[in-house]
């Protein structure tokens, strides 16, 4: 792990659906935060972000977000990313209606 580098995941929105998606280690995209590739190296993070940004016809607005390693895989740190991973708090209209372990 690079010194002073806070671990990251790459996240974006799906171009057509608009849904929040996460870049996985095998270069695919998942709708589930815990499937995200947990990135602990700064150089690798830059490479993976570039990889995501190049997929213009598939994703929108890719960026790196801070993450921590939880029991089921990468978990969000900031509350904004937590909401993105679950959906809105007023209705079960987002991911929380589809994911089982949230």
């Amino acid at each position: 792990m690079s010194q002073n580098f806070a671990p990251k995941i790459v996240t974006a929105n799906h171009l057509v659906e608009g849904d929040v998606i996460y870049l996985t280690a095998d270069g695919d995209w998942s709708r589930n935060h815990r499937d995200a590739e947990f990135i602990t190296d700064e150089t690798h993070a830059v490479i993976r972000l570039g990889f995501a940004e190049a997929q213009q016809e598939r994703v929108v607005g890719a960026y790196l977000a801070d993450a921590k390693l939880g029991p089921d895989g990468p978990a969000p740190i900031h509350f904004r990313e937590d909401f993105r991973s679950r959906g809105p708090s007023n209705y079960r209209h987002g991911k929380q209606s589809e994911l089982t372990n949230v």
Partner: protein, 556 residues
Amino acid sequence: MYKYNDFDEAFVHSRNAQFRSQVERRVDGSLTEDEFKPLRLMNGLYLQLHAYMLRVAIPYGTLDSAKMRQLAYLADRWDKGYGHFTTRQNIQYNWPKLSDVPDMLDALADVEMHAIQTSGNTIRNVTADHFAGASADEIEDPRPIAELLRQWSTDHPEFQFLPRKFKIAVSGSPTDRAVTRAHDIGLRMVRNDAGEPGFEVIVGGGLGRTPMIGKVLRAFLPKADLLPYCEAIVCVYNLLGRRDNKYKARIKITVHENGLDKIRELVDARFAQIRPEFSGVDQEHLAEIERHFAAPDFISASTAAYETTRNVNPAFRSWSDTNLSAHKNPEYAIVTVSIKAHGQTPGDATSEQMRVMADLAEQYGHDELRISHEQNVILPHVHKKDLPAIYAALKDVGLATANIGLISDIIACPGMDYCALATARSIPVAQQIATRFDELKLEHDIGELKIKISGCINACGHHHVGHIGILGLDRAGVENYQITLGGDGTENAAIGERAGPGFAYDEIVPAIERLVLGYLDMRLDAEEPFLQTYKRLGAAPFKAVLYPEAIKKNAA
């Protein structure tokens, strides 16, 4: 109700066809996101936290039953069965797919609606008094002027790339229900000494990170000069407004930095230049628009059923006490339908609720509906004899909450539950405050009290002009809520003062409860509303109830 002419219809359809093609080119990779983003924003399509969001313009908040039913249809067909009415009288759909949006826009065009200029650095939806054409205190219906401004500003080639967004509000009454003093241009109808109607022109108001009350640029502007004068203001702003710093780009900063006198001088010079070019065509066109807004054929009938129901049904009596306003025809009332049931999301209506309101408008309300900036729906023309039937129908679908102007009639922006710009949540705070005061059964004792909540500094929830304003912020990765006190969005507009340090998410509702219970102890009598008590006593006693620990510490 304005009806599109051939030009309007052709324009909206061609714009939709262009956008359909732009979406296709984005999806097939011909357009990058950087190229596509300004195009989608010009058509009201945002990308939010969880999905796209389509913001549909409801010009000056006016709808008929066909339009409302179509909004319900969009909610069912392409969204999740509901829509969110906003503080700018628009409606937002929170879950559309990019590939569906062209079909949504075509469905809107079928009922003469669109999403053009609901985003971007252009002149946005022109808002107006939601009681326009109905209220007892009105000089003239402001909607013809608002429609003229809408047509003039839509796709205006000179004003598609302004330094920043530009918002205009029009009120036809000296009583300001359109928050004209918090707009880039506010137009408030007044009479001159000769008794002729004209406009007080207010410029440079706005909330956001630098809240400012608008300043009077012209105390009285004849109606015939309105369009060239507004054009002169936007021309001056277009050249003078700052483009180097997004946060200093609104006209309020232009006015503040250059001074009102300089702006007036420049606007007058530009006005003198362009006024002769307005040959009178705009006035002919305005006269044509005015015909679309003729008052309905009011009926005359006994209002006895209304009085009888009031006497025998306490729930109806309570609802009619809070949710009705004086109509210019004494046999009629203006009904405000509360979209703020306790514990629900402010401004959210289901498709079923929309259809019921459309049916009621068609059956009892001369086919008119309005959306208020306070996120409620108005039936502007209801004969009093029909009020019991309307109340019963609303009650069946959870729309008969008797809380207009009360503590649970809260304005709240979507906040971090949806908005990509938000720094904290707004909706759950509004839900919890409403639920708490409903449990306490104090709402009607408390009386008039406007709470407004924004989930970030951009202030879409108008918190600065709330009697109690709540601003949600991100403090070191945790939601934190600042309280402002004494704001006022009426003709006596005032920016609320910050009360002190912010409160954590789980502390904000108890803090509001302390504040309001404190007010009940401090008011002279039940007739003195919160804002008046605040003005009489100042901030100190309210701060004392909000921050009891600080008082103890100082005393120690």
